[in-house]
């Protein structure tokens, strides 16, 4: 998933922009141009093939596409995405304000921990919630024992999907809002307070309007995640587009309808992406005047600190403590029952291997794209860079489906092999690496490269010996980010993996499909463990960056 603080196009290095060399497309070195064109072609390939495949549909399938059900699916998906993004904002904005602007006890720890639900894959969260709140779940059993309650309202359907997706996507809004809030000039708020306006009116009339672009951008990310999500809606049986595509793919011999529905899904997701990018542009402008080196004074909450603390604890309890506690409980039970965890060794290894190779490939190909876009700025190189961003708006299920079609029909040698799976990861996740490397490159003064060339080093040598080492923080961050997302990835892995190859995510998925929560617990916990280290490194990095930018 997109990760705003690192992937922001052009958010840093304002001073250097005047020095950009404007060169024509003709002077682009071939070793940068060729891989960039390859990336562009790979990104476009699944789109073209899905269009081709859907167009092949005979009369009957076209009738199916334009039947009522497709419209129903679009409406249901939109309803869920809307409800989730609003709820995510309602959770995240108070949380960000309390942890950054008020004297909430333990606010530093809460600020760091508030982002951590991102480490829990949403389908893992869904499994924990189904185990806890589903029929015959922990809560129901507990209520029956103590209160004699026979049944509780069903978690399946809209309610469960909404609850879980809100709890696991609010960090997207939180990240956006807290980054903006940290960079916001507190003197405006202070002035309002000084002129006699109360804390709440100040928040609603001064702070909130300034936060609006980043709240909306975060909400769109949360909506985009919801629309692309496949695990939660399938586990909770909510009839959204991705679930319908998966059911169609699994239950029908004619896969043209699945292809057509995937196109509908892509159009949906891409329009959210375009809206988000437009908003991010305006959010940046709103931040232009924010260079004041003053630490904001924390608002004294007084008696209100207790309900505020309660609120923060409830949010973190539901999004972090509950899923981990439920999984631990199931894990202990499986352990006591004497379950064999031996198979998880190879699954863990495969997960690390795919994450490592995926990160390596995507970062290696993102580098030329980013260098072209920053150092050989032209309409052409920017177009290639923009094109790679399309991956953000291509749901994994749609990409996976397209590569299954392409592999089975035209590339049997690569069908169900690791290389094709890596290509699918590349298409989906490369924008994260391009964004990270790009912002790193923007911070390098081009004069350093000029000096290197002036001292007799070739362009190629300068790239290798000056640019890449200087951009290494961005390259490393991009690689870690991709590692993190590949490790959690489910639908593409499920469809494209080699026969017999299990990863932690497929182990979780298979176990949850047979309602064997005990067996899902161990791979789910391992998955969280594998993600925690890179996530903490990344979060530390973006937090130090944020602090330095406030201090400057």
């Amino acid at each position: 998933m997109p990760n705003p603080p690192i992937g922001q196009p052009g958010s840093t290095g304002t001073g250097a922009s005047a020095h950009f060399r404007r060169r024509s497309a003709r002077s682009m070195p071939i070793e940068l141009l060729a891989p960039s064109l390859l990336v562009a072609a790979l990104v476009v390939l699944p789109l073209i093939y899905l269009v081709y495949r859907a167009a092949q549909a005979d009369e009957g399938v076209l009738r199916l596409v334009f039947r009522r059900r497709t419209l129903d699916l679009v409406i249901d998906t939109a309803l869920l995405a809307g409800a989730v993004s609003i709820t995510a904002a309602l959770i995240a904005v108070p949380l960000a304000w309390l942890t950054l602007r008020a004297d909430l006890p333990g606010r530093r720890i809460f600020a760091a921990v508030s982002i951590l639900p991102l480490v829990i894959p949403s389908y893992v969260g869904a499994i924990a919630y189904v185990a806890a709140l589903g029929p015959r779940g922990d809560l129901q059993r507990w209520l029956q024992r103590w209160l004699g309650l026979e049944s509780i309202p069903s978690i399946y359907g809209f309610f469960g999907a909404w609850l879980i997706l809100s709890l696991f996507t609010y960090p997207y809004v939180y990240l956006n809002v807290s980054a903006t809030l940290a960079g916001l000039d507190p003197s405006i708020e202070d002035a309002a307070r000084g002129l006699g306006r109360g804390a709440l009116p100040t928040f609603f009339t001064i702070t909130l309007p300034m936060l609006r672009p980043s709240i909306l951008a975060g909400m769109l990310l949360s909506a985009l995640y919801t629309v692309s999500d496949f695990g939660v809606v399938t586990l909770l049986r909510y009839d959204s587009l991705t679930r319908a595509i998966y059911v169609q793919y699994r239950a029908s011999f004619d896969r043209s309808y699945a292809a057509a529905l995937s196109l509908v899904l892509i159009v949906f997701a891409l329009s959210l992406l375009v809206a988000e990018m437009k908003l991010r542009g305006s959010a940046r402008q709103a931040r232009l005047g924010s260079g004041v080196a003053r630490k904001p004074r924390k608002l004294n909450l007084g008696w209100w600190r207790y309900p505020a603390l309660g609120y923060v604890l409830v949010v973190l309890g539901l999004s972090l403590v509950l899923p981990i506690a439920v999984l631990s409980d199931w894990l202990v039970r499986a352990w006591r029952r004497g379950d064999d965890f031996g198979q998880l060794r190879s699954a863990t290894w495969n997960t690390l291997m795919l994450g490592g190779l995926g990160a390596l490939l995507a970062t290696a190909l993102a580098l030329p794209v980013a260098v072209l876009a920053v150092r050989y700025r032209s309409r052409f190189s920017l177009a290639i860079e923009r094109l790679t961003y399309v991956g953000y708006g291509l749901p994994g299920l749609a990409i996976g489906l397209a590569f299954v079609f392409i592999g089975a029909n035209y590339l049997p040698r690569f069908y169900q092999t690791v290389p094709l799976l890596l290509v699918a990861y590349l298409v989906r996740f490369i924008p994260q690496a391009v964004g990270a490397i790009r912002s790193s490159l923007l911070q390098i003064d081009p004069k350093l490269e000029d000096a290197s060339r002036g001292l007799g080093e070739s362009s190629r040598g300068t790239l290798r010996r000056v640019t890449v080492p200087l951009a290494f923080p961005g390259i490393g961050a991009g690689a870690l980010l991709i590692f993190l997302t590949v490790v959690k990835e489910l639908p593409m892995t499920l469809l494209l993996r080699p026969t017999g190859m299990e990863t932690l995510s497929t182990e979780v998925w298979t176990a949850s499909n047979t309602s064997a929560f005990g067996r899902a617990a161990a791979p789910a916990m391992l998955l969280i463990l594998v993600s925690v280290v890179p996530a903490i490194v990344l979060l530390n990095r973006s937090q130090t960056e944020r602090q330095t930018s406030v201090a400057e």
């Binding site: 059911v247 190879s346 047979t514």
Partner: protein, 364 residues
């Protein structure tokens, strides 16, 4: 392939243990680790081509039956014959669709399906090789392809499972058609994406016709029939008293009782008078024409119809064995005693038509 995994696992502890390292070193360690993986892995990828797998005496099975049921018996097969098996698990229709999509490029040697209908569809597409008479003759002609393209491995009957705390056998309907009546409103569970359910719908289309089947499906939907993901979920829900009854296969109540380790308040009801609701279907397999190792594939077919595997199925999956002389699980009415509808399983090939119908009424 996993030997390689064992050798290289040591390398992965470096990045995990490196929390205390500074970021630059951590990244460098991660990068070096990934590089080492890449080199080792590419060697393994070259072996993964279809030709290489055939030479090393292994077969690829596309299984429409779940890993829980199939993996142990495949391990027994490898133990007995030395032939390695790579299994790809999915649901029955998904795996059939994959084979149809792949056509001549299919990496599968064997398709092992949960119902005869999907086997019939692959046969109709001309993708199965003919099986030798010795293999076919093990199985009753009722439970194999008339053209010798696939054989049944185990038998299963469709039943209406019910909660014995709420209902008695006397309350149960005589035919599956009665379930659209008011008495059963909101009380029945079904699993429309399940292969066995879909085969039953195909059978109903064959015996009662397209219109009557659509009417019945619509009647069931209007009657508030509750959708589940699978048969196991239905039986668990019936046992918990969430719903009164559900349309499933005969063996689930035994499986789930064994899993939970307790007696469950559930029983199977067989419909009467050869009603289509009590269809007896088979799980079975066929060998792909394009198989690169048809000998190994045939060895699997013969092993699954042998005494060891048939006993395993009877005792562990509570299905009906196809090999004469292997006893059925205790508590199960004998296959011959079942008042099952008279239908040629080869006629259940039109799963496609069933799926279109299910899509039309909005169930898939």
């Amino acid at each position: 392939m996993w030997k390689l995994a064992d050798r290289a696992t040591n390398g992965t502890s470096t990045p995990a243990a490196g929390i205390a390292l500074d970021r630059r070193r951590l990244l460098a360690a991660a990068g070096a680790g990934a590089g080492a993986l890449a080199v080792g892995r590419l060697g393994a990828l070259a072996q993964a081509t279809p030709a290489a797998t055939a030479a090393s005496g292994s077969i690829t099975v596309y299984s429409g039956r779940s890993e829980d049921l199939v993996a142990p018996v495949l391990a027994m097969f490898t133990e007995a014959t030395g032939i390695a098996v790579e299994a790809r698990y999915g649901n029955t229709a998904e795996m059939a669709a994959a084979i149809l999509e792949e056509g001549k490029n299919s990496p599968a040697d064997v398709y092992y399906a949960q119902d005869a209908g999907a086997l019939g569809a692959i046969e109709a597409a001309g993708l199965f090789a003919s099986l030798p008479a010795e293999t076919l003759d093990i199985v009753d002609p009722r439970f194999r392809s008339a053209n010798g393209k696939w054989v049944g491995v185990t038998g299963r009957a469709r039943v209406l499972v019910y909660n014995t705390d709420e209902l008695t056998e006397a309350d149960m309907p005589a035919t599956v058609q009665e379930l659209t009546g008011d008495a059963w409103s909101g009380k029945v569970g079904w699993a429309p994406t399940n292969g066995s359910f879909q085969a039953f719908v195909t059978a109903m289309r064959v015996t009662d016709g397209e219109d009557a089947t659509r009417e019945w499906l619509q009647g069931m939907i209007d009657n508030g029939t509750i959708v589940f993901e699978g048969n196991g979920d239905i039986v668990r829900a019936v046992a918990a008293g969430e719903i009164a009854t559900g349309l499933v296969n005969n063996y689930y109540i035994y499986e789930i009782a064994a899993e939970e380790g307790t007696e469950l308040p559930v029983a199977n009801h067989f419909f009467e008078g050869g009603n289509i609701g009590s269809l007896v279907n088979v799980s079975g397999l066929g060998i792909l024409k394009t198989s690169a190792n048809s000998e190994g594939a045939l060895a699997l077919a013969n092993y699954l119809l042998g005494e060891d595997a048939q006993t395993y199925f009877a005792e562990n999956t509570f299905e009906y064995p196809m090999l004469a002389g292997v006893p059925t699980a205790p508590g199960l009415p004998a296959l011959a005693e079942l008042d099952s509808p008279d239908i040629d399983l080869s006629n259940l090939a039109d799963l496609e038509g069933t799926l279109t119908l299910l899509a039309e009424v909005g169930l898939v």
